[in-house]
């Protein structure tokens, strides 16, 4: 278990004060916390329950219901490949295969050193630009394995792995 960068008690009380401790804002509270830790560690969820007095089973229910929340550690670099219909028929799976090989992680998994998370998503709503790959929030359109390799090289990812 990696050491948490910010002490949960401190992070939680700070974020709760942003919402005046209003538990009805649970989703925003969890979103903000996830921004700090990149996922929702167990200790953090326990701390939210402790400080809001909302039972932990409720918070766990919310955190597992929405796909936007992650309960497992995520990599520093998050690479998302759209596998929605439009991207799929244009061959996004080839780029996904390449990424999986280059990074050494299976789709929807994180590398052991917590450097990379490779994930797929149903549709990002930019079908005209497909296949789409998103790297840490930056969108790359018309992606092919060749172009992907060049992007990885530019980012300094590929030397290490090939």
């Amino acid at each position: 278990m990696p050491q948490l960068p910010v002490e949960p008690a401190k992070a939680v009380s700070e974020i709760l004060s942003r919402y005046h401790g209003d538990p009805a804002r649970m989703i925003e509270i969890l979103q903000d916390l996830q921004e700090i830790y990149r996922y929702l560690p167990k200790e953090v969820i326990e701390e939210v329950s402790h400080q809001t007095e909302i039972p932990i089973n409720r918070i766990y229910h919310i955190a597992t219901f929405y796909k936007a929340f992650h309960l497992e550690p995520r990599g520093e670099t998050i690479i998302t490949v759209c596998t929605g219909t439009a991207c799929h028929v244009r061959g996004s799976f080839r780029t996904l295969d390449l990424l999986s090989e280059r990074l050494g992680v299976k789709p929807n998994e994180t590398s052991g050193d917590l450097k990379y998370t490779l994930e797929t998503v149903g549709c990002v709503g930019a079908c005209a630009l497909g296949p789409i790959v998103i790297i840490n929030g930056k969108y790359y359109g018309h992606m092919t394995p060749d172009r992907m390799d060049r992007v990885l090289k530019r980012m300094g990812i590929i030397e290490k792995y090939s």
Binding site: N57, I59, Y60, F65, L71
Partner: protein
């Protein structure tokens, strides 16, 4: 008093009660799975569908959480309801396989064959009764839902043993399909589904195991009763046996 009609029968219902309650008091059968008087309605299983006619319009509602209203006409067994009910139950059976409880209900509502592929990937029907009894009655909040859609399931938070669970067994008692196992052996009580193992406490008078350590501690915290009462089982207490 509110006047309503159920299946042609005139009934006076209590203000604020549900259609299901009114029907049950009048001896009219409506199938249910997720309803239990111990907890609030949840309308998860949809077995209790009825037709409610109001101002010349008819709609399908779940009777377990539909409050009575003056003048409504309720039908509990029209062709449409029978058809919908069967589909709902068939879908549940496709999910869980034909368990004894669902089989019994299937006979009652007239399901002759299950038209869907029986996948039997989970035996829980997600009625939420165990979660609600733990939240609302026991107050332990030890289990809850996780995920959604096909992946939805009931687990203790993080799917690990927790301290909130008292191993009281209320969840096992209330589960309508009887899938929460409880085992007692060598002075322990185990609920494998929640990864819970508790030590049992023996009555200081008769020596019989009668509660878990967690239950005793919960009652102590709530009532502040002394050990002489806490560690005597209800039977012995009734007969005024003391330590």
């Amino acid at each position: 008093m509110v006047k309503i009609t159920i299946d042609g029968k005139k009934i006076s219902a209590k203000e604020g009660e549900t259609v299901l309650k009114a029907a049950q008091r009048a001896g009219i059968f409506i199938p249910t799975l997720c309803n239990n008087d111990a907890v609030k309605p949840y309308s998860a299983c949809r077995m209790c569908l009825v037709e409610v006619a109001k101002n010349g319009r008819t709609k399908l509602v779940t009777s377990c959480d539909y409050p009575v209203e003056e003048g409504i006409e309720v039908n509990t067994n029209t062709e449409r309801i029978q058809r919908d009910r069967k589909v709902i139950l068939e879908l549940l059976i496709a999910r869980t396989g034909e368990t004894p409880e669902l089989k019994k209900l299937a006979e009652k509502v007239g399901v002759k064959e299950v038209r869907f592929k029986v996948r039997n990937f989970d035996d829980c029907i997600l009625c939420g009764l165990c979660v609600r009894v733990c939240d609302e009655v026991v107050g332990a909040h030890a289990i809850g839902f996780r995920g959604r859609g096909m992946e939805r399931e009931v687990v203790p938070p993080f799917d690990v043993e927790n301290e909130q669970c008292l191993a009281c067994g209320a969840c096992a008692e209330i589960c309508p399909v009887n899938i929460i196992d409880i085992f007692e052996h060598d002075g322990t009580r185990e609920l494998p589904k929640w990864h819970k193992k508790s030590r049992l406490v023996a009555c200081r008078v008769c020596g019989k195991y009668f509660a878990t350590e967690e239950e005793i501690e919960m009652i102590r915290a709530k009532t502040g009763l002394p050990d002489e009462i806490l560690y005597v089982c209800p039977d012995c207490r009734e007969h005024n046996f003391t330590i």
